[in-house]
């Protein structure tokens, strides 16, 4: 216990130098700006900054990326409140009550609630990360190929089922991502799969160019497609959060924090699902249901706390299982790998100090976000007024640099363009991108563990279903698929309703 506190203290002290604090300030500011600008997402911000921080020592690079991540998720609420447009998908639930509050002349109060809810949510998430990561890590150390295979499959299926929209299309996107991950040399015989004689394609599809394309270029096309937004709420009352708002809704804060962390831990779901689920749960439990959607303080608090607590939540499976909980955390995981860190069960053994550093980074980023939340009101309004006709070409230039810089291959720029097109078309066809990206991230893990498991069991499928963790994960995966069949879903709901009615 004291040893852990000592290591945590050492991590904080290690970051308390002017150079690191300077990085924290600009990165959090940039994150909030990226989040606030509609069309720029947290995933894109983290992906672009991965390139910029390439030459930094790993601690500082990950610190910058975490500040961007935390800042961007929070920044999205500014445009949600002032423009009625979520800056990032995570802030979509905040528009429901944030914008009505702004229209009532309470934009400042709404921003205060958003700041306090987001700050408390991230703190709650950090506490959960500190408590859960060592336990999960220890459990994950007992896992073999069979368990890791099911974790990968479970990740793709759960992302497809719960990420929003049509689950069937979620599965298709997930398996398409897994298939794309097989392009290039395979691990056992270096056979070039689906390369068709192209040397560049034999090297495989880089995760970062694909992510920059799917989230950056696709967003540029999407943003330029629509008409420009001109209205903005400029009347700002006091932005200092009221203590009675926090005290009155403490139950909502804890509930939303817990929901956010749980959804963050589930693979690939991310902050938007956390915000919507927290909002729905708050509405169900509220005594003021009628205010929801018309400027409810409780609704806004729930959405903000839920999305903010899911950020540390999404990092928990990265540190313990090498499984990203959200799209931005997938990029964060890729950045950790680029910097020579080894996220997964061995992280706590190989570099335990990094776990404490992550906690310190999140706390520092959260505090920095709180300060900027109070300071950056009028400057952000000015930034929100920058027309997209001027912003988007700059974003495209940054995407291009981001895709190219890691391996200096022109081929990666073409990968970025192709994934930009795929991302745009898939969104038009009502697909969610999260399962595709998760499939791309987990493809290698799934393939290696499936083949290794089959070799270990001499082709027998029994260990994939009979080992305790495998049995649970396989049952959950199958139930998840069956649950997404509307007829089965409706029958089970009717049966439950009938059983409950019979009891009363």
């Amino acid at each position: 216990m004291f040893d852990s506190l000592g290591q945590l203290g050492a991590a904080f002290v290690g970051f308390m130098n002017p150079h690191t604090l300077f990085n924290v300030i600009w990165a959090t500011f940039l994150g909030i700006v990226i989040g606030a600008l509609p069309g720029l997402t947290a995933t894109m911000g983290v992906a672009l900054l991965t390139t910029l921080t390439f030459s930094m020592p790993h601690n500082e690079a990950i610190m910058v990326l975490i500040c961007i991540y935390v800042g961007a998720i929070y920044g999205g609420s500014r445009s949600a409140i002032l423009l009625n447009i979520p800056g990032t998908p995570a802030s979509a639930a905040s528009t429901l009550d944030g914008y009505p509050l702004a229209r009532q002349g309470l934009a400042g109060r709404a921003m205060g609630i958003s700041t306090s809810g987001s700050w408390l949510g991230t703190l709650f998430g950090i506490l959960c990360l500190a408590l859960l990561t060592p336990v999960l890590s220890e459990l994950a150390l007992t896992f073999q190929s069979f368990e890791f295979f099911w974790i990968s499959v479970f990740g793709v299926v759960v992302a497809g089922t719960l990420a929003g929209g049509d689950p069937l299309k979620g599965y298709i996107a997930g398996f398409l991502g897994l298939f794309i991950a097989t392009i290039g040399q395979e691990p056992y015989y270096n056979y070039q799969r689906f390369a068709f004689g192209f040397t560049d394609l034999a090297g495989g599809i880089g995760l970062l160019p694909a992510l920059v394309g799917a989230y950056g270029v696709a967003e540029v096309l999407q943003a330029m497609r629509g008409p420009a937004v001109k209205t903005i709420s400029r009347t700002i009352d006091s932005i200092v959060p009221r203590i009675e708002d926090v005290l009155k809704y403490w139950r909502t804060i804890f509930r939303s924090g817990a929901i956010g962390v749980w959804i963050g831990i589930l693979p690939g779901l991310g902050e938007d699902a956390a915000a919507w689920s927290s909002y729905a749960a708050a509405r169900r439990a509220s005594k003021e249901k009628e205010k929801f959607g018309r400027g409810s303080i409780e609704g806004l608090m729930a959405a903000e706390t839920g999305e903010a607590s899911s950020v540390p939540g999404a990092i928990i499976p990265v540190l313990t299982l090498a499984l990203p909980g959200s799209a931005p955390s997938a990029v964060l995981m890729a950045a950790m790998m680029i910097h020579g860190l080894n996220p997964g069960p061995n992280l706590m053994i190989e570099s335990p100090q990094f776990f404490y550093q992550i906690i310190a980074m999140l706390v520092i980023a959260d505090m920095s976000k709180l300060i900027f939340g109070f300071v950056l009101v009028r400057p952000l309004i000015k930034i929100l007024l920058v027309p997209r006709e001027r912003l988007m070409p700059i974003v495209f230039v940054l995407c291009l640099v981001g895709a190219y810089a890691i391996t200096s291959r022109v081929f990666d720029i073409y990968v970025m363009l192709v994934f930009g097109l795929i991302g745009f078309v898939m969104r038009e066809l009502k697909f969610n991108m999260a399962p595709l990206i998760l499939g791309l991230v987990l493809g290698d893990l799934l393939e290696k563990n499936l083949t290794r498991g089959l070799v270990l069991s001499s082709g027998s499928l029994l260990p994939f279903f009979t080992r305790p963790v495998c049995a649970v994960l396989s049952a959950l995966t199958i139930c998840s698929i069956i649950w997404s069949i509307p007829a089965v879903n409706a029958s089970v709901r009717n049966l439950l309703r009938w059983t409950l009615a019979g009891r009363h």
Binding site: L96, F175, Y191, E389, F396, N432
Partner: protein, 178 residues
């Protein structure tokens, strides 16, 4: 609370069944092609390799799953009326939306294929940003004075972007530029 349908994110809105049927056909064709190509890959059994490590095993499996999922989507789309002649065509975006999209995509492509590698990066980026801004900010009926001012601002924005990106990435963070 707002209506439930209004709370759905763009990707959560249901697509028309006929569109789903086309997606299903794509999945069936793509999955079959993937599985067929995977089947033709060597197994290395003659070199003592385990059949479970054959290069085509996993992509073949994914191809088969995509065929199954495509079939499921296709059957569902047909049951929802995808083949019905009365099925309403999907709402088409306006021509202006199509033009803006084509223009943005075209300019990005010209930047990558036409400018990159032929000019220094800062100049290529400056030309791209300036051209993009001038074209998208072009408005009919605007006086030449205002038009000239906007064009000048766009050129300055382009130059600022090209020079800043080059300095920050190349000189400050030692990142190589295309």
């Amino acid at each position: 609370m707002a209506d439930d349908a209004a709370n759905l994110l763009p990707h959560e809105q249901p697509a028309p069944p006929r569109l789903d049927l086309f997606i299903a056909i794509f999945c069936l064709v793509f999955g079959t092609a993937a599985a067929a190509l995977a089947y033709r890959m060597p197994t290395y059994a003659n070199q003592g390799g385990e059949i479970y490590t054959a290069p085509g095993l996993v992509p073949g499996l994914y191809g088969a799953v995509l065929v199954l999922l495509g079939g499921w989507l296709g059957v569902r789309a047909i049951r929802q009326g995808a083949l019905s002649p009365r099925e309403a065509p999907a709402a088409r975006p306006s021509d202006q939306v199509d033009r803006r999209l084509a223009l943005a995509a075209g300019l990005c492509l010209v930047f990558v294929v036409g400018l990159l590698g032929r000019l220094p990066f800062w100049l290529a980026a400056a030309i791209f940003v300036a051209t993009f801004t001038i074209i998208f900010e072009w408005q009919a009926g605007l006086g030449w004075r205002r038009r000239l001012r906007r064009a000048l601002e766009a050129v300055l924005l382009g130059l600022a972007t090209g020079i800043t990106v080059t300095l920050v990435f190349e000189r400050l963070f030692y990142v190589r530029l295309p």
